[in-house]
């Protein structure tokens, strides 16, 4: 005879989604540079931006005000609509 316990979880299942294949080239694409809000992320992203510019690759800066909170839906939508690929960076 079986017996039972009550499930303490949210009873949800993770959906595994395949990653989009990375682009073969960044030519003509816009690279989103996303600062998660740590103290020195801007220093790191400034360097990346400089190198991308030297290679003629367009970039666009995004960010959130603090690493203590997740990005809002609005911020994510801005990135989705404005960039083709995104680099999320942190640095202390």
């Amino acid at each position: 005879m079986n017996t039972w316990l009550r499930d303490p979880t949210a009873e949800t299942e993770a959906v595994m989604r395949a990653r989009r294949p990375p682009p073969k080239s960044l030519d003509g694409l816009t690279v989103g540079l996303f600062d998660i809000g740590k103290t020195r992320s801007d220093e790191f992203l400034n360097q990346i931006e400089k190198r991308l510019t030297e290679r003629g690759i367009r970039s666009k800066r995004y960010g959130k005000p603090t690493n203590a909170k997740v990005a809002t839906r609005e911020i994510v939508d801005q990135v989705v609509s404005g960039a083709d690929v995104v680099l999320i960076a942190l640095s202390d």
Binding site: T3, L5, R6, D7, P8, A10, T12, N67, A68
Partner: protein, 360 residues
């Protein structure tokens, strides 16, 4: 017995949570481990009878949605809270405290997702004020921050189990803590309110006297503070400041709050001189202001530190509201404790402790 009868006759119909069946000869504690439901310590198996009994500890309806638990932002009902409370070892009368703690944790300014996901040591620390603490037998005295008291141990544990089980927050997944801390299992205690001259933490944070409340703080600990020789409030304040400036790193500033858990013997030094909470907290804030030149990166041959541009400033360790004093501990011992806060508090307004009245 009533819960067992109710479980036998009605439990399967009105409890909404999924039944997880297992063979009658299996050990239900091991089933919980196999399912990944524990924090590493054994849990009390959530049977129908235990869950029904737990739900009797609150007047809130089992299907009420408390909120969405990070990181998965999964809806959490009162029934799911009760199941996790059973597993943590709570008694039904702890439910109102646990529910207030969960309500506090879900306030956006508590940043529960960040507290879980950070590489730092922090987790929710729960401080209980008001008559409920005595009613449910919480410890604010000897070993208040340690083991041995069921309410202290299990209320804090239940909150962390809810994040794990309902929210899906597990170490190595969304929980990215580099080292973690023992306080991530549980850190929950009551404030010592035995001195009527002392303003309880909940009152300092805006609730009327005599109400029961929880205050949630993003931190870890405790870290020891020993001073057996200072005999004046001025000397003790300077002494505490020496330890407070070290949290995180002595040269990091305005990035973490802290709680000072003041023991009775240390408190007596302040009380006898007529110092109240506000005066102690202000004096500690001022005593932790230091010359920027000593704190800049590279000073004293230490790489860590603040930008060189601040070398001419007098730099506070904390934001002006960054220190909270809580009274607890046994009568003997010129020891107090520091509970360091999460270092992500650079923005004073984005990240704050939260106080909630305990209702049902």
């Amino acid at each position: 017995m009533a819960e067992k009868l109710e479980a036998r006759h009605r439990g399967a119909t009105w409890l909404a949570a999924r039944k997880i069946e297992y063979a009658a000869d299996a050990d239900p504690v091991e089933v919980c481990y196999q399912r990944g439901w524990t924090d590493g310590l054994p849990v009390t198996p959530p049977t129908d009878a235990r869950v029904i009994a737990m739900l009797k500890g609150t007047t809130r309806k089992p299907d009420e949605i408390v909120g969405r638990i990070p990181p998965n932002l999964a809806e959490c009902t009162i029934e799911k809270v009760a199941i996790n409370a059973v597993m943590a070892g709570c008694r039904p009368e702890y439910m109102p405290v646990l529910l207030a703690a969960l309500d506090a944790a879900l306030e956006p300014v508590f940043t529960l997702h960040g507290v879980l996901a950070t590489t730092y040591f922090s987790s929710p620390i729960i401080i209980v004020n008001g008559p409920v603490a005595k009613r449910i037998g919480m410890n604010s005295g000897i070993n208040a921050l340690g083991q041995g008291n069921r309410a202290n141990a299990t209320i804090g544990r239940a909150l962390n189990l809810i994040v794990r089980n309902v929210g899906g927050g597990r170490p190595g997944e969304a929980d990215r803590s580099t080292l973690g801390a023992p306080s991530k299992y549980t850190l929950c205690f009551a404030e010592d309110e035995s001195d009527p001259a002392w303003q309880p933490l909940s009152v300092a944070r805006g609730l009327p006297p005599g109400r029961s409340a929880v205050t949630l703080f993003q931190g870890h600990g405790p870290e020891a503070f020993v001073d057996q020789k200072s005999r004046t409030p001025e000397a003790l304040t300077k002494s505490l400041a020496l330890s407070l400036v070290k949290i995180g790193h002595p040269k990091l500033v305005q990035s973490a709050r802290a709680i000072v858990v003041l023991s009775p013997e240390h408190y007596a030094i302040y009380r006898e001189a007529g110092w109240d909470r506000a005066k102690i907290e202000r004096a500690l804030y001022e005593a932790t202001i230091r010359p920027g030149a000593e704190l800049v990166a590279g000073a004293d041959g230490v790489g860590e530190g603040i930008p060189a541009s601040r070398s001419g400033e007098q730099v506070p360790k904390f934001h002006e509201d960054g220190l909270m004093v809580v009274r607890a501990g046994g009568a003997a011992g010129l020891f107090s404790a520091i509970l360091p806060g999460w270092l992500a508090g650079r923005s004073r307004t984005e990240l704050q402790p939260v106080t909630k009245e305990i209702k049902a």
